[in-house]
Amino acid sequence: MQSSRLGQSFTGFAVLAFLILCLGPALALIQDIGGVAGGNVALLTSRQLVVLANSVIYALVSALGAITAGWFIALFIWNRPGFMAQIIKLLLIIMLPMPAFIHAAGWRAAWRFINDVTGYNFSGQGWAAAVVITIMAFLPIAVGAAWLGLQAVNKDLIGVGRICRSDLQVLSEIILPLSAPFLAAGAAIISVLSLLDYTIPSLCQVNVYALEIFADFSAVNNPGRSFLLALPLIIVNTVIAAGILLSLRNAGISGVKNPLNQTRFWWPFWFWVLPVLGAVTTVVQAGVPFITLLLTALSGETLWRQYGFAGEMAYSIAVAVGVGVIAVLLAYPIAKALNQAAGGLGRFLWLLVLLPLLMPAPVFGIGLIRLGMWIPGIYGSDLMPIMAGLARFLPLAVLIIWAGLKRMDNSLIEAGRVLQSKPGHSFFRVELPLLTPVLLTSFLLLFVLAFGELGASLLVMPPGRSTLTITIYNYLHYGASGSVSVMCLSIALLSCLVWVGGLKSLELGRRVK
């Protein structure tokens, strides 16, 4: 009973912290709306409307391109489970948490390299370049969604089709329609992420709506106005998110884990070219950032001489660890509450968890400045970048842990509770060990995401401090390619090491058990 009361108190605290961190910034800005002079942003200017329309088109084209490429890559892995498929999977896992601007930096370096070699003067700027880099940056998410879609189709539904019609017909008439909800959800997620990210477009010299919010705040310093500006983007994202939820609700998930416990599909050569091209795209997607950044880094001074960013690196790691640890501690009780809540309360909790994921990063940054001014000792402190990371990514930690709880056999927990010899024994001996993999995955993902966070921390960084990401972003605009490459490589390698190393050790740990 005692532990239950303690648990309830902690859940209450976690929910309160979630509300303050993730929704507090937006609420603080709403409070400021009254101060907007003349309400002159209540209606968007025609220029802003054009920027918004451009952003939506850019996001949709990127999402469509990514999900199409992702589907063919997923088909390659699905139908050719072998060495190459393993390599492709590994590359995608490595690239999953890579910040978008590293792709942009890598591709910029690639274009410079191509220009040097060919003598051609390709600028690597504009909408087309932004779309290509965005597709590359979000490819792992697209492949993941397409892969889940393929996995979700019951193998017997496929088998009975293969007896009647050719494999290509089965693919287009059965597999594609049945996995369509996952493809739609994947495309929608990529659309939202593309709408929220401004790093790639800004480096490609195109203006998107998320950047407009940041630029407006920098120019006018009016928090309420910034929130009003952000509202159309939040509304567009909410509509897309509703589409995601609807898609997944209609998805017929059979739960069959390995549909390809059967003979490989036979497709005509012209069709096979597409999955193979997809596989090649993955290699390019992962190879370009690493190889071009390495080449650029090596082309100037030696790596160690260029590397004078130990302070930024240490600060970035400290912030990322802080975000990861606090996020896991807070997310666990919230995920548990989400798992248990039903009906209206459940829907309300879901709304609270999903809403922060739909807001552009500058809203968190600007809102946190506002909150920081109200709470003594916060503004200008080292807590601000940690709060920025938590505000943006805590909902993701909640979702990961919720998915882990959903998959867990509840009877194991109940048995632990019934049979425990003292209060809390079941939590430490049964619940926590069972959840360790998911908690660690959540920590790892949040670590790498917080390590690469830019949009909110750019606004809240304490004086005299800088993370590696912010330094890179500033340098990128000045075109300091050698230094940028070294820093980008450092981020990329550290992310890989933490993410893949952590996942690998988890796998080994499971085997040992």
Binding site: G159, R162, I163, C164, R165, T263
Partner: protein, 238 residues
């Protein structure tokens, strides 16, 4: 019905396969270290029916999936109507084998109507012939009123009938039925058994029928192949 397994005398399988039907020679199949089929051989004459019985997990469904071309054996050969469809280095695609199959679950495609599910194997038929075949099957199995329904709008028993109709639609040379009437009530089971037998005879199909139910088995055929642990002690009951 001729069977060769461990401890059985060798029979002249070639003589049977020349006459058509299904011939299986020395079939092995493992999933990792788990052996599912081991040295399975039998021959079934064209137009004959065979019942396969045995405990769960003994490889009955795997055998049907190999015959259908949905899985490739580790070793051995499968012949359908005097042509080899699966052998080391040789594999014929499932849809070219002339097979109709019913799985343990009805496996209806949820995004297609009952009519679309049934006519899927005969989409290359002329429209009027296809419509006539559909009407015939719907009437025979008493589901004519469900033609435009989706699978989630019909009962379990009706779904089983649709799955049977779909398997019969193309009048396949070979019918593979994997416990097609599980969990149905006695009357409906008997009713559907009659239709299965009638349709198989009308189409002169060669049929393999997997079931646990002795009564069901007796109704279909007296040729019974009993699968035991890892097939080494398979024995024939006729």
């Amino acid at each position: 019905m001729i069977l060769k397994g461990k401890g059985y005398h060798t029979v002249n399988l070639a003589a049977v396969q020349d006459r058509g039907g299904i011939t299986v020679r020395n079939l092995d199949k493992s999933y990792g270290r788990h052996e599912v089929l081991k040295n399975i051989s039998f021959a079934l004459k064209a137009g004959d029916s065979l019942i396969i019985k045995g405990p769960s997990g003994c490889g009955k469904s795997t055998l049907l999936r190999i015959l259908a071309g949905l899985e490739i054996p580790d070793a051995g050969e499968v012949w359908l109507d005097s042509r080899v469809v699966s052998a080391p280095g040789h594999y014929e695609l499932p849809w070219l084998r002339g097979i109709g199959m019913v799985f343990q679950a009805p496996t209806l495609w949820p995004h297609m109507t009952v009519a679309e599910n049934i006519t899927y194997p005969i989409m290359n038929w002329p429209r009027d012939k296809r419509k006539a075949r559909l009407a015939g099957l719907l009437n025979m199995l008493e589901i004519a009123d469900k033609e435009a329904s989706f699978p989630d709008e019909i009962s379990g028993g009706q779904a089983r009938r649709v799955a049977l109709a779909r398997a019969f639609a193309a009048r396949p040379r070979f019918m593979l039925l994997d416990e097609p009437l599980t969990n149905l009530n006695y009357d409906l089971k008997l009713h559907l058994l009659e239709h299965i037998k009638m349709e198989v005879e009308r189409n002169k199909s060669t049929m393999i029928y997997v079931t646990h139910d002795s009564e069901e088995a007796g109704y279909i055929s007296s040729n019974i192949l009993r699968f035991e642990e890892i097939n080494q002690t398979s024995r024939i009951e006729d």
